[in-house]
Symmetry: C2
Subunit: 211 residues, 2 copies
């Protein structure tokens, strides 16, 4: 499946949610599901699910619904989840160490292959079975071992510099945990993980609530 230029980003962002839910349903033995039922499960409208899927093809059977296994496989193919993706981690402070020991990436085919830090006291140590290299060796490392994705877990002050190095050396996607708005070139995908921002927009609605 090619990357269709016309598919909105919001649609792409929902596909992994569908895929994950289908995997869960399959593990429970469910074989067929309608857009209505899947929508109930996820809290979205059935029309949205059908419209989203229609960007990529026709996966359902009229009068019946979708084959859970088949649709799950199709979505994983569309998203490019059939291959393994390599990632480098930059920053092994508190956050970086938690990311290294996080058990959620590997089963989904996302593999951290190297870790880097700028602080001399961390370099050479081993964290979660992974040796920590100097960030100065990152360009050289990426030249000999290109990685698909870079994870940034450094301070806000250093994050843009790290992003520049990653992009300059062929990384095509960045998962940013630093609390700063990074600027990356066109053609580089950037996703931010920001629990604090999530809380800060939530409080707008909470403050009005009478206890």
């Amino acid at each position: 499946m090619m990357t269709l230029p016309g598919v909105p980003q919001v649609v792409i962002d929902r596909l992994p949610v569908y895929a994950r839910t289908l995997a869960m349903l399959k593990s429970k033995g469910r074989q067929v599901i309608s857009s209505q039922e899947l929508g109930d499960e996820l809290g979205v409208t059935p029309a949205q699910i059908r419209k989203d899927l229609s960007y990529f093809g026709r996966f359902g059977k009229q009068g019946r619904g979708y084959n859970v296994q088949r649709l799950g496989t199709e979505l994983r193919r569309i998203l490019g989840l059939e291959q393994e993706w390599t990632m480098v981690l930059v920053g092994v402070g508190n956050l970086g160490r938690a990311i290294l020991s996080y058990r959620g990436f590997a089963p989904e085919g996302f593999k951290i292959v190297a870790a880097f830090d700028m602080h001399s006291e961390k370099i050479g140590t081993t964290v979660g079975g992974m040796k920590v290299h100097s960030v100065k060796s990152l360009p050289q490392y990426l030249k000999s071992s290109p990685a698909d994705i870079g994870i940034i877990a450094v301070s806000a002050a250093s994050a843009q510099d790290v992003a520049n190095v990653l992009v300059d050396h062929g990384v095509k996607g960045i998962l940013n945990y630093a609390p700063v708005a990074l600027r990356v070139s066109e053609g580089t995908r950037l996703k931010n993980i920001e629990p604090v921002l999530a809380l800060q927009s939530m409080t707008y609605y909470l403050k009005g609530v009478v206890p």
Copy 2:
């Protein structure tokens, strides 16, 4: 400032980004900034910034721009960030422990006041200076000490049960780290932190790239 009903969620989600950037600019000594310059900093259009702010009032000076300090303070007030918010954490596995030791919440006024787990071997232990209670005592705890926000860091299988308990006992916002789409009642705010989903939508764009 009241919670205006007509303000789109997307606008609310951008305000913390503006607030954070203004705080950074202020710490660098910047006193005045135009929507153009702020937009350049963040990668958004100046019109969007002005329109977003216009939902809440008039904060700028024509011909000059915005006072960095003043606009930052206004945004924090609008978002409800002048008060401290209390949070309970449920689940002290790998992820929960990382959340407990995360240093980013407290400086922004988000305080974890208690931690809970369902596994007997964890109950009674101390993690990051915080005693771990049985999740069975969560309802009772919330009755005597209401919390604003619940953080869910349990398995996907248990997350909905935990969310139900939190909502039933007065929690008005949930920050969910479990890889599952939770359903909560109207009037409860839910934000999901899902690095794996972020990666899985990113790969849609990466797979097409020629190396």
